[in-house]
Symmetry: C2
Subunit: 196 residues, 2 copies
DNA sequence: AGGGTTGGAAACCGATCTGTTTCCATGACT
DNA sequence: AGTCATGGAAACAGATCGGTTTCCAACCCT
């Protein structure tokens, strides 16, 4: 019984883990048991299971971003900061318990794009794209909007490969992102941008 | 009541559609009702729901591949044949009822990579990679193995974007695949390969 | 026409689903 | 000490889950 945090915090944490590990179809009973919270309390804190899905996804956002994104103290060139995301992703995949990007996986399971959980997933992806976009603008990339989307797409593609346990050389995400940045002329030397 | 095909065929078709549209957690009752087949017959034809999941995925393979891959009568250069896959995917996404690659989606929902359905998904992805690989060899690409995996990854990334309904300019898969082929020196003119 | 196979309809099993409710132990505040 | 809010345990509701079984109508072949 984890009785350290508030029932709400315990629920959000257990939900984040169990919805990810077992899918959003896991029962509310099992979830509450894992969180050490009664169903009564759960339904006082959240209107429905669907709301809990969305809120647990949203609450995981900041720590997941902190896990993937380089911090502001990392003052390397934009290209390296971008590639850091893919390196961190590789590390997650290599750990073996990776079941895909939690946001994409949840959206896949929910099917309905208007489900509150799907909306959170969409926002998270936009957040990742925005990060890439900011860095690309810093690097002076020619078409940062398109390139940011392409990088996000590679991120999700690398996730999908891990889910299906396809043959992976490791680092395929980093490799591909780097190839794309190369093609766009985004170099590690800050000033060598705008290459055409 | 679709009574045209055999119960087995009706089950496989209904399973392919409903497992995709509603997820693998849809009930056997609903599935049999949609197929116009009794549960008794279903459990005579398939050992379990899990087996039906796997077999319906496997049975969809050939037609799905025919939908995506260019036929042997398409004698354009390898690069164009490769890009055809991404163009066809774009058309599927544009239709609006796209819920991701059925194989990846099912693998995501099943979680367990040893589930027979996950095994089928893995084989399908390998099949796609193999197609890319064959074409790249034909084109004389330098590292067809890696590039084929990268293209498959882009394919899955484009699927994921469609699932989360992320902002999409349309054609982002084609665009990115083309960029990667450009970087690898795979041109439309058959002989202009091996560019360094 | 008669015998046997096929297969759908539906009841049934125990388990689980989301969501509600009752009851009671605990702890805080005055 | 006595009151009150918090929240866990657990029963409950009606529906559905995967899977099995019974029963019977419709068809096949001769």
């Amino acid at each position: 019984m984890t009785t350290s945090a508030t029932p709400r915090e315990r629920l959000l944490e257990a939900a984040g883990e169990l919805f990810y590990r077992d899918g959003v179809n896991i029962g509310v009973d099992a979830l509450c048991k894992a969180a050490g919270v009664s169903k009564k309390s759960m339904y006082q804190l959240f209107r429905s299971k669907d709301e809990l899905i969305a809120e647990s996804l949203a609450s995981r956002g900041p720590s997941y971003q902190a896990l993937l994104h380089p911090g502001p103290e990392d003052e390397r060139p934009a290209r390296d900061r971008i590639l850091t995301v893919f390196e961190r992703q590789d590390e997650l995949v290599a750990r073996g318990d990776f079941l895909g990007c939690p946001y994409v996986s949840t959206a896949v399971e929910l099917k309905n794009p208007e489900h509150p959980g799907s909306v959170v997933a969409r926002h998270f992806k936009q957040h990742l794209t925005d990060f890439f976009h900011r860095e690309l603008v810093k690097a002076g990339a020619e078409d940062p909007g398109t390139l940011a989307i392409q990088l996000t797409m590679i991120f999700d593609g690398a996730s999908a490969r891990a889910v299906v346990r396809a043959q992976d050389l490791g680092g395929i995400g980093v490799l591909t992102a780097a190839a794309l940045l190369d093609a766009a002329g985004v170099r590690s030397t800050e000033l060598a941008t705008q290459a055409g």
